[in-house]
Amino acid sequence: MNTLSPAATAHPGLPRLWRDGRVRAIAVQLIALTVIFGTGAWMLGNVAANFAALDKTFGFSFLWRLPANYDINQTLIDYSNRDSHLRAALVGLLNTGLVSVVAIALATLMGFTVGTLRLSRNWLAARLAWLWVEFARNTPLLLLILLFHGVIVHFLPHPRRALGVGDALFLTNRGFYMPRPLFEAGSWTVVLVLALGLAAAWFLRRRATSRGGAFPWWAGAALVAVPVAAACIFAGAPVAFDIPVHRGFNFRGGIVLTPEFVALAAALAFFTSGFIAETVRAGILSVKTGQKEAARALGLSEFQTLRFVVLPQAMRAIVPPLTSEYLALVKNSSLAIAIGYMDLVATLGGVTLTQTGREMEAMFLVLAIYLGISLGISGAMNFYNRRIAMPLR
């Protein structure tokens, strides 16, 4: 070793220490930690100094102390502009949750369908699926959101000339209106019977399949539908429907899906389905062809092969990347503000932030909540992944 520097020869203890792998490892880690914590401390200190310079305090009491004063057009819980900023944030969070759940369900459905079709031997189906994937993956999400919103707002008719489906469903550029079920006294019996019917059908099906038998779908449907119908008649039709009616400027009554919600959910689902489709395709291709050939040899149909042999094995490769797609979708839903969908970012991170001037607190909370949602989703997906994992011998 002739690499000793002059400084090192002046301190004969140092080079010997430096040559020791363990010492070197600890030293490198110490330096890294120092840099990380130093940067963190510098940032925190900077925030503190700036807060002091601006005479600001850090605190969250504004959330419940001040009335929000603004209205929100989609509220899953009771809300008026006299409620607190906290409640407005909760309304926003629920809106984020709603659009995420709906979009995740749609994206999964579309992604699995398109991903499977991509491998179809039908040339047209495979090409169309390919087109879908490339279009969904290679367009900016923001543009898709604006496109979908623009199509609804510009091409669907004004409420006065609404597209009606059987006088109950109405498509307009102000939203999609549909009847709202009204649960009156005694409706709980119907709900209870429905729940019991579903549980019984599920249980019977499970038992039948575990014994190698079959449980036809119509038996399950009858098991649910007949008692529910009986309960409805018996309890005197306690479930009514509030049907939307056009009155004045807009439709009143019923449930409305705003153009903003529909556009955001559809765009998120479409965009993410492209990625999910590729994940699914990769997962399916990861299953050894021998498995497929064996299934075919046993006389299983193409669909049965896919459903009972290929997909269960493919899921092991699909679920981990699928988790990332779900996380990305939830976070992407924060683009909502572009079309005025009042999600968490538009309420707490938007109007509340602007009206109260609490940027640090509001942004901190928004980040913490997104982190919480993401950790929740990946926790659930990891649990599912462990359940379907290959049992280790």
């Binding site: 120092t34 200190g45 400027f249």
Partner: protein, 342 residues
């Protein structure tokens, strides 16, 4: 591992000490050192701040930036415009990203007190209203029960709309929009029945329609909107500079000083206030403002007086054609009133 903890503690301590000095310096010194003024304006509102067909930003809001640049740097063009939304404007001002906010900002109690802003003066007295398509047949805002109403989010507009409908006990569907441009598009697509913003904004919108007569501005004025210049709280000298530049431009109109005659007025006027204003006589306190004696001539010569600014941007004769109304000089029955230069 035991050695790590004290080291970390030392690092943390050092980190916090290093940081401490980020206190706010004088904005005037910063601007002079930088050589240009950072000016926060809107993302586009014709007549107030919008790019012309050559891409040059023009409007009343932009002219205040020019006036301030002329006052402190002697050159109206030494400005850099930052286009801010209602969501980012106050944050940008407080964080020091801009030196002045000239963006049709309404002077309100909570902004003045809780948001640590200093409102230096009102340059346009406005009030919020509604615009609706004429074929809707609506004559009063109180007939808007059940209507969908577009307003820009993060503004006082959406709060005033909420107050108005609550006070009159009628329902509506709020349709929040991120910017004026999007709100206009949504209104034209009939996503909403009415659009609500400041009266000047309504006039701008109506003027920009293919057929302005197909849209009516409803008679109700539901709020007071004193549009004002805003600076950071805590730099009194800078606030004074902005306030007195505004006063200067207003006083110039009152005294008949225009961009054309300002030099002549300085050399020939006998009125003592005009002589003090324009630097012919000594104006006590100008040194503590940190400005040179030629600041007033620079501002008026390069930007013009209040009447000139108003006329070329939004007055009768422009497509917007907004009457002076409340924004006439106090002598003519308006609210535009300069403080005396003494």
């Amino acid at each position: 591992m035991k050695t790590i903890i004290p080291i970390l503690a030392a690092v943390l301590a050092a980190g916090t000490i290093v940081v401490s000095a980020t206190a706010q310096g004088g904005t005037l010194d910063d601007v002079r050192k930088r050589g240009y003024l950072q000016c926060g304006t809107s993302t586009g509102l014709a007549g107030f701040s919008a790019p012309d067909d050559k891409g040059v930003w023009r409007g009343i809001d932009i002219d205040w930036c020019h006036a301030l640049a002329a006052a402190v740097l002697g050159d109206r063009d030494k400005i850099k415009i930052k286009n801010l939304t209602g969501k980012t404007n106050y944050t940008s001002l407080r964080s020091g990203a801009i030196d002045i906010l000239s963006r049709t900002a309404t002077w309100t109690f909570s902004r003045d007190t809780d948001l640590q802003l200093t409102f230096v003066g009102t340059y346009f007295y406005d009030g919020q209203g509604f615009i609706v398509p004429a074929d809707l047949g609506v004559k009063s805002a109180k007939e808007l029960d059940g209507a969908s109403v577009c307003a820009t989010t993060g503004s006082t507009s959406e709060l005033n709309v909420a107050d108005f409908f609550r006070a009159n006990n009628i329902s509506y569907e709020p349709v929040p929009m991120e910017s004026y441009t999007e709100a206009r598009a949504a209104y034209l697509a009939k996503r909403c029945d009415a659009f609500s913003t400041d009266g000047s904004g309504l006039a701008v919108m109506r003027a920009s329609m293919n057929d302005p007569s197909a849209h009516v501005i409803l008679p109700e004025v539901i709020s007071k909107e004193p549009l004002s210049l805003v600076v950071r709280q805590g730099d009194d000298q800078w606030a004074d500079i902005a306030r007195w530049t505004l006063n200067l431009v207003i006083a110039a109109e009152e005294m008949g000083i225009t961009s054309r005659n300002v030099r002549e007025m300085r050399d020939k006027a006998t009125n003592p206030e005009i002589r003090r204003m324009l630097g012919a006589d000594r104006l006590q306190g100008l040194e503590s403002l940190g400005l040179g004696t030629d600041w007033a001539v620079n501002v008026i010569e390069q930007v013009g007086n209040y009447g000139e600014i108003y006329a070329r941007n939004i007055g009768p004769g422009t497509p917007l054609n907004i009457e002076r109304g409340l924004n006439r000089q106090w002598k003519d029955g308006g609210l535009i009133y300069s403080r005396p230069f003494r």
